[in-house]
């Protein structure tokens, strides 16, 4: 009886299931799958004055890989990632270990203060730092003669903006991971005579290594797509923050300042593919690792 009674219900569920996922699926197709395929197609064509759009195989990609401006931009975000990521994750880790160890009213306030910059739009965070860096409106010129917006220093200034905005976010993620570690582990370390600093470095940090790897990957993914901060600071010193400063800035200007849609699509697609493949390799690697533990 139950089999007979259940069959129509499963059929009804199938219809309902499809109706429930349909709107989302339509969006997924129109605003993710289709644009992706369209970018891929565009990147394989070239627009010429005489013949219009012509199929150009991988010419756009070849051009990108040979383009010194594009290569400098890629190198810049890679170097940026290698320097800024460890600094920021280091600050986030120290902060997380501190709020995990010290329970006081102040440490709760500190947690809030560190996290507030994350609630600010990147555009506005960058605007504020732009004013602070400027020798005319900022406090830094009374302390030092360094020009924070020169071509030699602006990358560090951008790194500071990113660190300011995201360190607190990463701190909260790491702090949550620390809270998930069973307390007995620390107790036994204390009985063995380990001090607070030793416990933090030798026990707590390794215990949350999976979370540290994860926030590092997300930071690198963000760095490769670096766009808003350099674009906002650009008018302050267009000579230092050029139109090809990062791959995304380059793709944006290729499309909207020079109407080179095909070339721009190739750059976007290349960047997207690197980020996409990279994230899956890392996620797969970390998943294997956490499964082994």
């Amino acid at each position: 009886m139950s089999v007979v009674a259940r069959r129509p219900r499963v059929g009804r569920q199938a219809v309902a299931g499809w109706l429930f996922v349909a709107p989302f699926t339509v969006l997924l197709v129109f605003f993710l799958l289709l644009p992706m395929l369209y970018a891929a197609k565009l990147s394989l064509y070239r627009s010429t004055l005489v013949e219009g759009e012509v199929f150009a195989w991988l010419d756009n990609y070849r051009q990108a890989l040979d383009d010194p401006e594009f290569r400098r931009g890629v190198l810049r975000v890679v170097v940026f990632g290698l320097v800024q990521t460890p600094v920021m994750i280091g600050i986030a880790l120290v902060a997380a270990l501190l709020v995990d160890e010290v329970t006081s009213r102040f440490s709760r306030l500190f947690r809030l203060a560190a996290f507030v910059p994350y609630a600010v739009p990147v555009v506005i965070g960058t605007l504020m730092w732009g004013f602070l860096y400027s020798p005319n409106t900022g406090p830094l010129s009374s302390v030092t003669d360094v020009d924070f917006l020169s071509s030699g220093t602006v990358l560090y200034s951008l790194g500071n903006i990113v660190t300011w905005q995201w360190a607190g976010y990463n701190m909260i993620v790491l702090y949550a991971a620390l809270q998930g570690v069973p307390r007995e582990v620390y107790e036994s370390a204390r009985i063995d005579g380990a001090g607070a600093v030793q416990t933090a470095l030798r026990i707590k940090t390794p215990m949350i290594s999976a979370a540290i790897v994860l926030v590092t990957i997300f930071t690198i993914i963000g760095t490769l797509q670096f766009f808003t901060e350099p674009l906002i600071l650009q008018p302050l010193n267009p000579g230092a923050v050029t139109n090809s400063y990062t791959p995304n800035v380059y793709a944006y200007h290729q499309a909207f300042s020079y109407q080179q849609y095909n070339y721009s699509a190739a750059i976007s697609f290349l960047l997207g593919a690197v980020v996409f493949v990279g994230s899956y390799i890392f996620l797969f690697a970390t998943r294997r690792r956490s499964a082994l533990r």
Partner: protein, 306 residues
């Protein structure tokens, strides 16, 4: 996965327990040093906000001519505010309204669609479910910035660029929200209650509304909050999609002011207007953030599991 979920729900209890036992730093010296480091970091994180607050009380001359980190001259905050709302024919207010419109419509819409899909993936059996979900997981890591340009070109062929839809429609897509709500629905919506509602003769939509939605509420609030803030803060998409000044959200609008002020082609400099405009733009976010802390943190820790 479910282990970590239950573990997380006990986090807050663990915190209050520790506070109750009064576990302190082991040595007074260490405690002072820890607090000193935290104070230093807090100063760094709060410095730009302090500067913004002080700067918004100055006029343009004060902004350039007085000590940046302390009040000076006449208190000009209200003058600045009135200039802000009247400058360029009151366009700032339109930007503010646009930001609110985009983030509320996208937030509510994306959350509703993600709730339907997430619930269906978790609790309804339909052919193609696993395949579709695998496709979603496969596409979740496609970086949004790589899609902006082709989306723009497609939208312009459909004649939709420079309309509110150009910003709202792409913002309705939230694959990570679907994933998150699927995980949450899987653990928190009891199968027996679904079955009981069905036996009582409720249709699937009714079952969803009266049984699943209430059980998913905390995760729904998190997804809503994150989508709204993400849309409010979004810059790349509206920058590319919109060229009509009147449709700009705050982020794009303030950038155009900043750009023309720094490049000096806007006639009288309006840096003080930009400063107070930035202040007005972040106040609602900071208030929302302080009031809804619980949900932010919940979302972050679930997000970290991805």
């Amino acid at each position: 996965m479910s282990d970590t979920v239950t573990e997380r729900s006990t986090v807050s209890e663990a915190v209050s327990e520790r506070a109750a036992t009064g576990r302190t730093g082991r040595t007074t010296g260490g405690r002072i040093a820890s607090h000193a480091v935290m104070a230093l970091m807090a100063a760094y994180f709060l410095l730009p906000f302090w500067w913004l607050l002080v700067a918004s009380t100055k006029d343009n001359d004060g902004l350039f001519g007085s000590a940046p980190l302390w009040f000076s001259g006449d208190f000009k905050l209200f003058d600045n505010l009135s200039t802000l709302f009247s400058h360029d024919g009151g366009v700032y207010l339109r930007w503010l309204r646009n930001s609110a419109l985009y983030s509320v419509v996208s937030g509510v819409g994306a959350t509703a669609l993600a709730a339907l899909a997430g619930y269906a993936f978790a609790k309804l059996r339909f052919p193609g479910r696993n395949l579709l979900f695998a496709a979603l997981l496969g596409l979740i890591m496609v970086p949004a910035t790589a899609l902006v340009l082709p989306t723009y070109l497609l939208m312009s062929e459909a004649g939709l660029t420079d309309t509110v839809w150009a910003v709202i429609l792409p913002s309705l897509l939230n694959p990570f929200g679907v994933y998150l709500l699927r995980v949450y629905a899987h653990d928190s919506v009891p199968d027996e209650m679904l079955e009981a509602a069905r036996i009582d003769g409720a249709g699937e939509l009714r079952v969803f509304r009266s049984v699943a939605l209430p059980a998913m509420r905390p995760a729904l609030v998190t997804v809503l909050l994150f989508t709204m803030v993400a849309t409010w803060n979004n810059f790349f998409l509206p920058l590319v999609m919109l060229s009509d000044n009147d449709l700009f959200p705050l982020t794009v609008g303030l950038r155009t002011w900043y750009q023309s002020a720094t490049l000096g082609n806007a006639g009288p400099a309006l840096f003080n207007v930009i400063v107070v405009g930035a202040l007005v733009a972040i106040v609602p976010l900071i208030v929302a953030f302080l009031l809804l802390q619980r949900y932010w943190r919940g979302g972050l820790t679930i997000g970290a599991l991805k």
